[in-house]
């Protein structure tokens, strides 16, 4: 039948009203697209941010995740190089993995003895070149500021080098040496009693005679790091601070000390076996996580390894919380838009039905069934929906292109540097088609009620209505 054809012409009968209706749908589509694309940007941005630094999965000695923070050294993975080989050379896994690298996390006390300052720190040792490689991960084509990639990291041959948080540098009175900003605050009054940690405990150094080396030629600020070895004995090493790196969370920034893994191993294991507390695994694509997890499970089982692994959403619960929060916001906006569309279409279609009472009577008299009338008006709702949703998609693309190329900068939650605002409508493959389909279905649903009203009309009364 020519139902759609007739519906199309009827829409343009009162073109102003139809246009307003279509625009209402368009605006809803644009709102949903823009907000959805913004949410996608935050979510995928957070993911990229995290995955660049911490990978997708981390493998630990069993129990580390729950108890490791109490005594990291005790949960060291021995012969971790073999484990990495096992993972990266597995025929099923090797194509999915970009980087698998050891890390060593621990706690200790850092002292700047020149200035009598010391404080506790959270230390992390990694392989500099591997981190550099991980930071290139950009599966979602996020616009990441160059500075992030170019950020000075350590180098593999600088085995005494380290990076500390800005807050940490401030508290260790390294403001001048490291060009730290915001160092204007008042320093604590010096008390007569020397803090315990400022005692020179160089004598603790396990390494044979490292201490005897004449004052190092290294010009970088020196920190002495004190920690308990795996065996429980105190140990100390010297770290030369390359630079500072602001951390997104102040608590971390005030305690952060990153270093070459071998320096951390020297501190924690002394002359004993060098271990790692975790293996960071970065995948080519996030969607491979379930597959890789299943394979790892099997691999560890077969090799009788007492290891556990966690993905990034398990390690950072906030990731999931942010997603559900944003999803709630998104649903809220989508619902409001949906209700507006619903009422607009019901209103338009009801008016259209009321204006065409005699026409309804006529075509019913000519022999169109009730269902035909129903179909006729639903077809009009459908067309309004299709036109509005399609126009909405087109306008969204234009708006998104405009916004994305406007170079607006913003700092997403948990970020350190501002990044260009990028609305990523098409990153989530379901957003645009889902929005389109949702609006069209909503338009159809909203026209059912007026259409039924039209279908139920008594022919004789409808014909008398002039």
């Amino acid at each position: 039948m020519k139902t759609l054809h007739i519906a199309f012409r009827n829409i343009f009968r009162n073109s102003r009203r139809s246009l307003m209706t279509i625009l209402a749908i368009t605006v809803s589509a644009v709102a949903v697209h823009l907000f959805g694309g913004y949410v996608a940007n935050i979510v995928y941005g957070m993911q990229t941010n995290y995955v660049c630094d911490n990978g997708h999965l981390q493998v630990y000695q069993e129990g580390f995740f729950d108890y490791g923070a109490g005594n990291p050294a005790a949960y060291g993975i021995s012969r971790y190089q073999d484990l990495i080989k096992l993972i990266t050379q597995d025929p099923q896994l090797k194509d999915h993995i970009t980087v698998a690298t050891p890390i060593l996390k621990f706690y200790g006390i850092a002292g700047n003895f020149k200035k009598d300052a010391s404080k506790t720190f959270f230390g992390i040792g990694y392989v500099p070149s591997d981190l550099k490689k991980m930071r290139k991960w950009n599966d979602y084509n996020m616009k990441i500021r160059k500075s992030r990639l170019n950020r000075i990291v350590l180098s593999d041959d600088d085995i005494d080098g380290g990076i500390i948080g800005e807050g940490m540098a401030r508290m260790l009175l390294l403001c001048e040496e490291l060009n730290v900003k915001n160092c204007k605050g008042k320093l604590p009054e010096k008390s007569d009693q020397k803090p315990a940690a400022t005692e020179d405990f160089s004598f603790l150094e396990e390494s044979n005679g490292l201490n005897d080396i004449p004052e190092s030629t290294d010009k970088r600020p020196r920190l002495d790091l004190l920690a308990a070895t795996a065996a429980g004995a105190p140990n100390i090493v010297t770290m030369y601070v390359n630079n500072t790196e602001v951390q997104g969370v102040k608590a971390l920034d005030d305690n952060y000390a990153a270093m070459h893994i071998s320096l951390a191993q020297r501190l924690l294991y002394g002359k004993g076996e060098k271990k790692a507390t975790g293996i960071v695994i970065q995948l080519r694509h996030t969607k491979d996580i379930p597959f890789v997890k299943a394979r790892l499970e099997k691999l560890f089982d077969e090799n009788r390894l007492n290891l556990e692994f966690k993905d990034y959403t398990q390690i950072v619960p906030m990731y999931r919380q942010v997603i559900s929060f944003l999803f709630a916001l998104f649903s809220f906006i989508a619902t409001i838009m949906g209700v507006i569309v619903l009422f607009t279409i019901i209103n338009t279609m009801t008016m259209s039905v009321m204006e065409r009472v005699d026409e309804i009577g006529t075509i019913r008299a000519l022999g169109l069934r009730r269902s035909g009338i129903l179909g006729q008006f639903i077809a009009e709702g459908l067309l309004l929906g299709v036109l509005g949703a399609t126009l909405g998609t087109v306008v969204s693309v234009i708006a998104v292109t405009g916004i994305n190329s406007a170079g607006i900068m913003w700092t997403p939650p948990n970020y350190v540097d501002p990044v260009p605002l990028k609305i990523m409508v098409f990153l989530n493959p379901f957003l645009a088609p889902g929005c389109w389909l949702g609006l069209v279905l909503l338009a159809v649903a909203s026209s059912i009620f007026p259409a039924r009203k039209a279908g139920k009309m008594v022919i004789v009364d409808a014909l008398r209505h002039v």
Binding site: K2, I6, D358, E359, T362, R364, L366, L368, R369, L463
Partner: protein
């Protein structure tokens, strides 16, 4: 006479309307038989019940009591769906207000009943063009109703009513909205079309002038059949 020779057979048909709480009896017990293939006229003053009667004959209404048989079919027994299909197949309507579908061209309006009957495209085209030619509107086939004069609109309506070759054509005061000259030409056209197609025509009017050529005339007054003339 047997059944098949009557297009319509009414037996003691009553039709009541409720206006608020008042009951209005528009037909007060009408019994009549309308022969097939003739030009029948129902005449009566305004408010006498002509439209009410034609609505029953057109299967768009049912009687309050009595029996209405159209083409041998008791219309009260039809479901809404069946009545729709019955109308699509058997009945052509010509309305006082033309009632063309405004978004369709003259051609499309005439074609519409054939679409309802799901006729194939080729047949639709042939029938539609022939019909438009017969009513003298070949040159106006792409005009929308609002681009046609009243007389032209009613011609389109006549073509629309006849295109499917219905058993019964009902015209409820089809000239009431036309000036007398145009009205006369519409009446002439209907007589001509009826003569050619041998379709049963039922034409209602309050104007006695129109019944010159009528083969059969029914006169109703105040819901009652007063007189029946013709063969």
């Amino acid at each position: 006479m047997n059944n098949s020779e009557f297009a319509v057979r009414l037996t003691d048909v009553k039709k009541k309307y409720l206006m608020g709480k008042v009951e209005v009896e528009a037909l007060k017990g009408v019994s009549l038989q309308i022969p097939i293939k003739k030009f029948n006229v129902i005449i009566g003053p305004s408010g006498s019940g002509k439209t009410t009667l034609l609505n029953l004959l057109g299967c768009i209404d049912i009687p309050s009591s009595g029996c209405v048989e159209v083409c041998g079919q008791d219309i009260a027994r039809l479901s809404d769906k069946q009545a729709s299909d019955f109308r699509a197949e058997n009945i052509g309507f010509i309305f006082q207000n033309f009632n063309l579908i405004p978004v369709l061209s003259a051609y499309e309006n005439v074609e519409y009943p054939l679409l309802l009957m799901k006729k194939p495209a080729k047949e639709r085209r042939e029938l539609t063009l022939k019909m438009l030619h017969d009513v003298g509107l070949s040159s106006h086939k792409h005009h929308r109703p609002n681009e046609l004069s009243g007389g032209q609109r009613q011609r389109v309506a006549i073509a629309r009513a006849l295109v499917k070759g219905p058993k019964l054509v009902l015209a409820d005061e089809p000239t009431a909205n036309l000036d007398s000259k145009t009205g006369q030409s519409i009446i002439d056209l209907m007589y001509k079309m009826q003569a050619e197609s041998h379709t049963t025509f039922i034409f209602s009017s309050h104007d006695k002038q129109v019944m010159e050529h009528a083969e059969k005339v029914f006169e109703i007054h105040d819901g009652l059949l007063m007189e029946e003339r013709g063969k």
